[in-house]
Symmetry: C2
Amino acid sequence: MKLNARTEYASLAAVELARRASDGAPVGLRTICDAQRVPARFLVHILLELKRAGIVVSVRGAAGGYRLARPPESITLQELRAAVEGSSETPTPLTSALAGTSRDAATLRDAWQAAARAQAEILEGISLADLVARSRATAESMYYI
Amino acid sequence: MKLNARTEYASLAAVELARRASDGAPVGLRTICDAQRVPARFLVHILLELKRAGIVVSVRGAAGGYRLARPPESITLQELRAAVEGSSETPTPLTSALAGTSRDAATLRDAWQAAARAQAEILEGISLADLVARSRATAESMYYI
DNA sequence: CGATACTTGACCAGAGTAGTAAGGTTTCCC
DNA sequence: GGGAAACCTTACTACTCTGGTCAAGTATCG
């Protein structure tokens, strides 16, 4: 399935912030980029979206940076995706407006929604804390090889 | 979630073919378009993809048309989607190639795959026969109002 | 004041999407 | 055999989304 760059970068940045949440100081953009190998100019916009969504908070000025707005256990992948993905509510599919009225189309969309729901539920069950823990776990297993 | 036009049209066409599977004659493009309100010029391409995927077979020449290659119970939404969606295996995400090597990125992708898997399983559980039955069911419930 | 660092808006190239156009090929039927 | 019906194929267009860059603005610390 498609994991687009925005969602990937947002998640990586959030994981990095979660990992450094213990030290009180805000984390600079540069720090995140260096740790996660993400283009800085691009990450700026993504962090801005995360801020608008209330997932991170920012501190301006010298020695500024970003911080998670809430504990890592309460921020899920689903939330991150919703924040950066174009929501894509497809306000008016234009030409396919007529097709949308058919009974078959309605049935189909119900089915589709069930699938989307199943996916969202998995994503809601994975928090930043989980991801940090999993990453640490694989790191340790690698150490013992 | 995003249900794109190709997948929607492919599914609607397949449902129509499933519904008319009892009469032996192949179903013409025009017939499908009229029934499902889908642009003919576009549906041609989609049916071609379905044919390449082995989901439908075609009969050329006058009195030709399309037919399901297999019984409607054995064709699932997942299969339809795979047939028309750009597979998008993203062979090399180019610039994000470096990011792909990080441990966090691997962890994240595992999580994402679990979500994708859950969605695919739902889609695999819905056949054309199911969709036809559901559409008929809602039609009957509407009749009794 | 000046350096650091977040904020904002404009911009751009490439890919994918939805759809159209037109000509070629196959088959049926008179 | 000659239409005509209907599928097959390639090409093209308009538009949007995506990934990413640039540059100027603003806030804060020292």
